[in-house]
Amino acid sequence: MAERDELMEVIDKLGQPEVREALVKAVDLLANLERSGLLDLLIALTDEDVVKRIVQLVMTTGTMKLADNLPELLDKLGAIAATLAEPAEPLGITGLLESLKDPAVARGLSRLVTVLRALGGD
């Protein structure tokens, strides 16, 4: 009886226009995935053991820290990318020392040293 009720629930759902529409789209999507071979790739990727390995690979202390600071990182990367459109003058050692008078450059250098420390650490 309970199984029959569950079946009726599914049939009722199929009667809803948005469910029917979604199903047609899902079937189209599946056909596309099949033609391109991606469906087989997805089947392999969703294998229980493969999922476990992927999780181990992706969910590490490093990625947790990276994801946590993603907004700040993207801000900086965006700002750096914007400077690439500007013309750059060649800079010598005197010019480098001169530009260190700019507090923003001095702070940037300090950050670079921190990055070096992290790179060289354990």
Partner: protein, 393 residues
Amino acid sequence: MTERILVLGAGPGGLVSANLLALHGYDVTVVEKSEYHLFQPGMLWIAFQGHPPEKYMRPVKDLVKPTVNLVQGKVAEVNLAERTVTLEDGRRLDYDRVIIALGAHLDYDAVPGHSSLVEEFGDYFRGADYAARFWSHFKAMSRGTLVIAAADPLYKCPPAPLKAAFLAAETLRRRGVKDSVSVVLALPFIHEYPSETVAEIVAPKLREAGVEVKTMFTVDSIDAENRVIYSLEGESITYDLAAVIPAHKGPAIRLLPEEARDDDGFIKVDKYTLQIEGYDDAYAVGDCNNAPTSKTGVTAHLGAEVVVERILGFDSRFNGRTNCPIVTDGEASFVISTYDHPPIPVKFSIFKRLLEDAFIASYWSSLRDPEKWSPIFRAYFEATDPSRVGGGW
């Protein structure tokens, strides 16, 4: 003969234990008094943001695997020596092993006036209906003082009152009455949180949200008629609306022998194995035990996994890991600690809010099919172990 395992309570600890054991061919029976399982943190969203209670409730029968027997009934007595459990209606159940996961008992009689307060306004601990009652008062509030307080320093989900304050402040701001309603957070601690590390991270956020914090305020009595809360420390606050977290005690059942409990009624366990002291066939997981860690769904879930692995013959040990979320407007932080590490500094971020929302979204599935989530949760808890993230996250 198949080993009979009795799981008392269908909260997160009980459901995870039962559903995992069912995969390994045990004869598992769950005893639960309610027809519905409530996602308890949901009460905060019901009470302070008006979410519908149904969102956080599911029938228990839909949360157990088909091979788990479900007995609807209230546990009256557990006799560890005789290996029997008696229900209030007189039914008697025998077991080979028992897992007690009955949660904590909320004592609204410990503080004079508390039961009048909770009957009048509701709160965000007693149940979904009480949370809905609180919302009906809170949503109508346009001036005065909202007090969020606690009757005892030991309660479920240590950041609960902070979350309550943040969510309340957000609602008041969105309703445009932030300036005419003051939110007072009265806490029984020296700082904004028992751990100073966490307090330092939370304090500026509370200031930003406009929450007034009163430390060293342990609710001692409530004058519900004149709307005044008195503290053990000798202070008082007048309120227009208030929610006070009740004192927590061990489960309200008869447990034999009586020495199996501590002075507050919590069941005495080995903090690593969660085995009840003196009994190798009995465990207590989650809020009902006396393990020196926070009382939260995460500790119940992780504890249940340890108990199941031990029953399966592995030398698994619970490290006391907590992961209590603190949510503000759009961001979250977690209180991350273990038995060996006090809470580490964890800054508020959008990513942590995403993780918290994903945890909530996976809640029902993680109770019914915990085995599917185990690899992901395990990787997360390892990646964020205090010994690994070191200086903070």
